[in-house]
């Protein structure tokens, strides 16, 4: 994938770009719609954010009792910490170590964004195995799928602006190698989750609501 021009010309790696745009979401509200079996632990919502901690996402969750685990796997991927050949550890262990989810955690919501498309099949299956122990029957995940493998994923990071709106920022770092996986592959390789609902967006991305598999 080629980096889009905004991301490609951005400055220092540590800098964070401001919100570039917002996108109405038809799937997001359902992420916050618990089913009958989706009871929260002590009324506390537990969220896994796979990207960077963004102000709007933290602000959004700040009105409820919650615990947000921030595991910026994009950054870890960039640093080679999710490559078994670099770390010398099994891939699954690499993901476990970098997510560092405390024992006993039950994740209610996983914000995976477009992360799966930066992983190959082997990595994605390992990521799924690493994530699986923390899921429960009611776990829901938000993932961007793609309409086809030719869909271009821009070098963006995402957050939650409100219950119906995604925030989009250009990433300030160079784009990572990306190979968009069509939904059928995503469903097969992301073994701990299955697509529950998908909504095609004008840019070829597919907003996916995923749920934990049996």
């Amino acid at each position: 994938m080629a980096a889009d021009s905004v991301a490609g010309t951005a400055g220092a790696a540590a800098a964070r770009s401001p919100i570039a745009s917002r996108q109405a979401s038809k799937v997001l509200p359902q992420l916050f719609t618990p089913g009958p079996s989706d009871g929260l632990d002590n009324g506390c919502l537990t969220v896994l954010e796979i990207g960077r901690a963004l102000p709007e996402t933290v602000r959004f969750f700040s009105s409820i009792r919650c615990r947000i685990h921030i595991a910026d796997l994009f950054s870890e991927l960039r640093q080679g910490n999710l490559a078994g050949s670099v770390t010398g550890k099994p891939l699954e262990r690499c993901f476990q170590d970098q997510m560092a989810i405390p024992a006993g955690t039950r994740l209610d919501i996983c914000l995976l964004w477009d992360f799966p498309h930066y992983l190959d099949e082997k990595q994605l299956r390992a990521f799924s195995r690493a994530l699986w122990p923390w899921l429960h029957a009611g776990t829901r995940a938000y993932v961007f799928g793609v309409h086809s493998a030719a869909t271009i994923l821009l070098n963006r990071e995402y957050g939650i602006f409100d219950a119906e709106t995604i925030s989009i920022r250009p990433r300030s770092e160079e784009a990572l190698p990306c190979k968009p996986h069509p939904q059928s592959f995503l469903n097969e390789w992301l073994t701990c989750l299955s697509v529950n609902k998908g909504v095609l967006l004008p840019d070829g991305k597919v907003e996916c609501l995923m749920r934990a598999r049996n």
Binding site: Q30, G35, G43, I64, I68
Partner: protein, 181 residues
């Protein structure tokens, strides 16, 4: 978490309490290894390793501050670097120049644009917002918000999902307190 907001101490009511606004400062050339406790607000521009316990006061880690310590305070503001857990009775603010690696527990957490954070955030806004939300929910029900079907848990189709978000949708904040056990 059961933490609740605490009213700030009133200096005139307690002769032992420091005057309002009085701050201790650890300058940028100072290094401290150990435990800091007491009853004054503190501004840290230097380096602290160990533990900081100022439960009734404010702790500010300035832009040049480097803290390798767990911090417990009334409010905590970070503009420098922290490696350790932050626990505040009222609020934690990580400003744009702040870099925190650790876990945060506070009723309110604010991350400003540019802040870098790695760890987990535990927030519990407490009774005020819970009451506000309960009132909003009641209004939503009165306006005809209805649960539309029953979901089957895993693998349930979207058509069969229960919609528990208040129907007036006036507020776009998450409505997730409905399944409290």
């Amino acid at each position: 978490m059961e933490t609740k907001a605490v009213e700030p101490p009133i200096a005139s009511a307690n002769p032992i309490a420091p005057p309002a606004g009085k701050n201790a400062v650890i300058g940028s050339g100072i290094k401290i290894n150990g435990e800091i406790s007491g009853n004054e607000n503190i501004l840290i521009e230097g380096r602290v390793e160990g533990r900081i316990m100022l439960s009734g006061n404010d702790v500010t880690i300035g832009k040049t501050g480097q803290v390798m310590a767990d911090v417990s305070a009334k409010t905590i503001r970070v503009a420098g670097e922290v490696s350790g857990d932050l626990k505040a009775k009222e609020r934690v603010v990580i400003s744009g120049s702040g870099n925190v690696h650790g876990n945060v527990v506070a009723p309110r957490v604010v991350l400003e644009d540019g802040a870098i954070f790695k760890g987990s955030i535990d927030m519990d806004p407490g009774d005020a917002i819970a009451a506000e939300r309960a009132a909003a929910k009641a209004v939503g029900k009165a306006n005809g918000a209805v649960a539309t079907g029953a979901a089957g848990g895993m693998g349930a189709s979207s058509a069969g999902q229960a919609s528990l978000i208040a129907g007036d949708a006036g507020s776009k904040a998450p409505d997730l307190s409905l399944k409290s056990s």
